[in-house]
């Protein structure tokens, strides 16, 4: 019961921080001089992008964990983080497109960072498709773990592309102190949400696996006596 209250408190705190962040962005934070109000997309766009990387890193760590220990809980964690990484990456791409249209006049351009970001989204969508297409649980976990390792290679490419290659994205952004504070505050609800979503999805994956095992055991127990009876 105490645990349930803690979970409810966690989600309430996240909701309050989320609303607080939006109020802070629209009422307190000054407008950027060159881009105007459209720059305010940045305060959610960047935290969601950072959390996408973190979710991908969880997939990577869990994939390594599975390959080393062969424990199914690593596989459940990797699958949960990949699911949430796709949701977060979709948010980054969509908000980025809206910002691009307002600031640069185009919805999309094949610049290195945008291309690698789109690739990242595709890689984790394919990861989920691969998972759903393999029937055997052991083989699915193994194939997914290897795929999870390879897919993570795109994360440093997204991060470094705007710094090392000529890109439409600025390499570094100069922010006023109020803007930095708002950005820091916006990191809180987005990180809480991402972590909460991964934990909830992980619990669901674990429950599903337990149910499946239970069903298999029941099936074996139900079938065995019938077969024995038949042979007698």
């Amino acid at each position: 019961m105490t645990r349930q209250y803690a979970i409810i408190a966690y989600w309430l705190l996240t909701a309050v921080a989320f609303i607080g962040a939006i109020v802070l962005v629209f009422t307190w934070t000054p407008e950027e001089s060159s881009m105007g109000v459209i720059q305010k997309i940045f305060y959610f766009h960047l935290p969601v992008a950072i959390n996408t990387f973190l979710a991908c890193a969880v997939v990577f760590v869990a994939s390594v964990g599975y390959l080393v220990q062969r424990d199914t809980w690593w596989d459940d964690l990797a699958a949960a983080a990949a699911n949430i990484a796709v949701v977060l990456c979709t948010g980054v791409l969509l908000t980025g497109m809206l910002w691009a249209h307002g600031a640069w006049g185009v919805w999309w351009t094949w610049s290195p960072r945008l291309t690698f970001s789109f690739m990242l989204w595709l890689l984790y969508v394919v990861y989920l498709l691969v998972r759903s297409s393999v029937e055997s649980a052991q083989r699915r976990a193994l194939v997914s773990a290897v795929f999870g390792l390879v897919a993570f290679l795109d994360v440093p490419l997204v991060y470094l592309s705007a710094r090392l290659l000529p890109d439409i994205h600025p390499g570094q952004i100069a922010l006023a102190p109020e803007m930095k504070l708002t950005l820091g505050f916006c990191m809180i609800p987005i990180t809480l949400l991402a972590a909460g979503l991964i934990c909830t999805q992980y619990k669901i994956n674990k429950l599903r696996r337990a149910r499946q095992l239970q069903r298999q055991e029941q099936f074996q127990l139900g079938v065995a006596p019938t077969l024995a009876g038949g042979s007698l």
Binding site: W11, F18, I22, V25, G36, V37, I38, K40, I41, F44, H45, V48, I84, V87, L88, T90, G91, L94, T95, L98, W99, H101, G102, I190, L193, A194, G196, L197, T200, Q201, K203, I204, L207, R208, R211
Partner: protein, 34 residues
């Protein structure tokens, strides 16, 4: 598109995506526990 509207749409997309996923997961978890 009006820049203010575009900004509001961006925040709406993030809110819908993240809280929508949370709602979907809560329902799924509830159904599995029943």
């Amino acid at each position: 598109m009006n820049p203010f509207v575009a900004t509001c749409v961006a925040y709406g997309i993030i809110a819908l995506l993240l809280w929508g996923t949370a709602a979907k997961l809560f329902v799924e978890s509830w159904n599995l526990r029943r």
